[in-house]
Subunit: 319 residues, 2 copies
């Protein structure tokens, strides 16, 4: 395969505010023969990839690598068809019965772990409580909603289109889904009463309003703030004094801190996926060249479910 | 004492932003004979009072009251020389050895309990950590600083004048006191590194800056936001995304939730007061008529130490 060319996408310039694909990214072509795995490295052909990680198949293992040709691994190979990666940055994927490798980009991967430990360990959710989830149609949010319903909570989902809201109510069974783009959004939310746990994926004005909707001892789980990442100046939270009167908290977390306990979540969520009680949705974009445009979707709300880019055909693409 | 007149201060109008004593308050005179304690009530002559509570001496006990004439009680009698109060809203004050009744308006009262449970239970402070305290020259803040030093923490105090800063460094032994009115305040703070616990009494811009100074797993204790209470529109927090990367939290609390454990704090702090290792300072304003002007001080930073109003002479005033 010495003369084979492959493509990868590299950063040309950092986005200032919104992403402009043609200005911020460029596609490069390289010779596959230039990629030689060293000690404890593997050369991976990438099947599905996304912003923070991807699935690939090992095509060549370097000296002393713990992986073998044909293994499916999860790692952070970046936006490329092939990549040499260190053993220690990869995990061999062995899907539990009734699940498949692609689930490791979603409910059994980083989004799943984020939903699980965020809701249970940071949010300390309890049966019967009221849970509000923003970014609810995304990979993390949609699992948080389902974990909440499974536990017997009242779940209010916030998403950005009537289609997403219908999916959340009809397919995922949330008690109420609110479209934050609706002119009556805040009024409708207010009518739904107060909340015990707010699982926040968006930040900004919606987080600020949530601060006025707190029950006593409410917990706000700060998971992400997609509305703010591309803002030159983030919107300020003004309603934080409610944290005092309501004895409430805002807590941030990073999922990697729970790595030693991923197996717990994988077993629990995997069982739900296998028996059909936990649903997952993929939004698949075809072809590496589409990756920059796809990334924009994360910020504009274009995707429903886990956004993945299908980089190449191969064993993974059959999933 | 049927024809005796006494005075009390009542609210004429709610302040819109800053307090205007002559517009917001009025002094009324009433006949003492109109105050008759009913069942399980006492008539109290008030010695020292303040915004949230006061000390008084029981001058008459109603039927079935658990208090007796001459008892010193803590309650919330309001700005009046005499008041009829329910038994259940009062606590008999029995100062531990080496302390006195007045301490129950300060280190052994609500400010003390707030400092103690806020720092230990909400802040989960540990030996060797870096503690930053705003409103550090106030009753709560100055005790938080001392509890932190006693535990072996690095303590950075924030106050509003060179005199207060000198008191904090020289008398209370904090590692560094910063004057937030200094033009180099933020620069100086930045040079002192990152923090583990931020005990916040002020809110606003100082809280927002603290969000950029967090060590991993930092805890922000939201105790008060004196800078914001009189603002028509509070300043927004913009740096809250740091909570995610630093796995940090902001938690509000209300001291009354710890009422069942006040005795723990009173024993611990009382021992420190008795042996001189915990210092307390009072800012005494003489005469009930001064109460509205004194209240303004809380918002303008005029007081150092616990602000109390001496309402009348009597057993309490001798303390």
């Amino acid at each position: 395969m010495s003369s084979t060319q492959f493509s990868k996408i590299t950063l040309r310039s950092r986005p200032v505010a919104d992403i402009i694909p043609s200005e911020n990214f460029q596609t490069e072509h390289a010779s596959l023969s230039s990629l030689v795995p060293g000690a404890k490295q593997v050369l991976v052909k990438i099947g599905e990839t996304m912003r923070a990680g991807g699935l690939g198949v090992v095509v060549k293992a370097g000296e002393g690598s713990k992986f073998a040709k044909g293994d499916t691994v999860y790692g952070t190979p970046g936006w490329a068809e092939y990549a040499v990666v260190d053993d220690k940055t990869c995990t061999k994927i062995e899907p539990p019965k009734g699940t498949d490798a692609l689930d490791f980009l979603n409910t059994l991967g980083m989004p799943g772990m984020t939903a699980y430990f965020g809701l249970h360990d940071i949010g300390r959710i309890k049966k019967g409580e009221t849970l509000v989830v923003s970014g609810a149609a995304g990979a993390v949010g949609s699992l948080v909603c389902q974990l909440g319903k499974r536990l017997g909570c009242k779940v209010i989902a916030i998403a950005g289109s009537p289609d997403k809201c219908e999916w959340l109510e009809t397919d995922l069974g949330v008690d109420k889904a609110l479209n934050y783009k609706s002119p009556t959004f805040y009024k409708e939310w207010k009518e739904l009463g107060y909340l015990d746990v707010y699982f926040d994926n968006v930040g900004g004005d919606i987080l600020d309003f949530a601060l006025t909707r707190l029950n006593r001892d409410a917990r706000i789980v700060l998971c992400g703030a997609i509305s703010q990442y591309n803002s030159a100046k983030p919107a300020g939270l003004t309603a934080y004094l409610n944290l005092i009167s309501q004895r409430a908290s805002i807590t941030g977390f990073v999922v990697f801190d729970f790595a030693a306990r991923y197996h717990e979540a994988i077993a629990d969520i995997g069982a739900g996926v296998a028996d059909g009680s936990i649903k997952r949705k993929f939004h698949i974009v075809d072809g590496l060249a589409q990756a920059p445009e796809a990334l924009k979707m994360l910020f504009t709300g274009g995707n429903t479910g886990k956004l993945v880019v299908k980089v190449s055909d191969g064993s993974i693409a059959k999933l």
